[in-house]
Symmetry: C2
Subunit: 238 residues, 2 copies
């Protein structure tokens, strides 16, 4: 299963020997115990040259994990020093080589672009990397048949582990919504969900449930909404 597509950037070459044995599409490993947010040093920045974006020498900030830095530099194709949504989308692929949905990329950037610049800097990238890695472990654990995609019963197990129990008809609707094909007929007739859509489905169920609980002030299992409130809830979900 691969999540990052490494670009043939000249910057990545300097890490070539260090990672020569690693498959080009295997995800790099973050060091154990890394938190989602981590302080980083400032980047050494050169001066603007020839109308291109400021060239950043690819020297990792002090204390940076060099593997992670190599990935960051490789994803930052225009060498702007930060990763834009299109750059992130080009870099992120599922195990079946399909790209991540733009909506998953937007979800990730919403979670990790903590300073709201519209780009992911190296500090934010560290958190994003670890987050994807954690989801990768979850995905592998629940992809019991090793198909590389998640089917309905595997999704049910994952949600159950997270504390969510959906009745069967709602689970079926959830699977239909996040399946990678309209009818799920691609993989032996069972709806199959790729990694990025699995991640989004789980985050959706969690956030939806929290939103509902927040609206259900008297905890009677019912909420009352007008058109604007209803739409606002919808727009807040991934």
């Amino acid at each position: 299963m691969s999540f990052f597509r490494r670009h043939g950037s000249q910057h990545s070459k300097q890490y070539g020997t260090q990672y020569g044995t690693q498959h080009a599409h295997a995800p790099a490993l973050a060091p154990p115990g890394t938190k989602y947010t981590r302080a980083s040093g400032r980047y050494p920045v050169g001066s603007g040259v020839g109308g291109f974006a400021v060239i950043r020498e690819s020297v990792p900030p002090p204390g940076a994990n060099p593997k992670l830095w190599a990935w960051f530099v490789s994803v930052d194709v225009d060498r702007s020093g930060s990763i834009s949504a299109p750059e992130l989308q080009r870099a992120l692929i599922n195990g079946d080589w399909t790209p991540f949905d733009l909506d998953t990329v937007k979800l990730l950037m919403g979670l990790f672009d903590t300073n709201r610049t519209g780009d992911i800097d190296f500090n934010e990238f560290s958190g994003l990397w670890r987050y994807i890695e954690d989801w990768q472990h979850v995905f592998r654990r629940f992809d019991r048949d090793g198909s590389g995609t998640i089917d309905g019963s595997e999704l049910q197990s994952a949600l159950s582990q997270f504390g969510f129990k959906l009745p069967h008809h709602l689970l079926a609707l959830l699977v239909a919504k996040y399946a990678s094909s309209p009818t799920g007929s691609e993989v032996l007739g069972r709806p199959s969900i790729t990694f990025d859509r699995f991640m989004r489905a789980c985050v959706f169920v969690k956030q939806f449930t929290e939103s509902f609980r927040g609206l259900d002030g008297d905890n009677d299992g019912w909420v009352r909404l007008n058109y604007e409130q209803f739409l606002t809830v919808y727009f807040s979900l991934p």
Copy 2:
């Protein structure tokens, strides 16, 4: 603006001279007055050869528009005689060369796979083609600055034309949801929406509004929902 990416199929070559002057990525034109559904003849079907899918001779069904047939054959890369979701997704591109979202492809297949086979046959393709063409006219009309994407005020105009008036803060949330970048900083700081996401945003507003009206039985502007009903509405929307 281009919506269909023509594959280098050998079948499409036979239409090469006929459409030689047409740009490879320009959408073909359906004949005036074509409806979304149209009866078509049966396909001449050969026998299975060498383990591949059944080879269909690329002779259009009686009465078929030859341009449309050429596109259909070109999109049907595996020559199965119908178009799968992955084939359709590979064929559909926005004017900025980004692929259509999988969720847009699923929306289209949900609308036009009327016999629910999970594939689009030529008859269904005719309807789909015309539908996209109609949306293309809408998109061009409301893309007033000719940027190839729709910004907030252009979306507002389009929705207003369709009879929907969203208050400013909801419009801003809608734009953020469907914009092609997390912050919309890509195009002169204004959120920009590609063709396929514009189409989905409009269909969403229409369907959401209809769902809300359906739930608001006493027409007082409020609906009361439990968790399952709320989720069911969500899953019914594109």
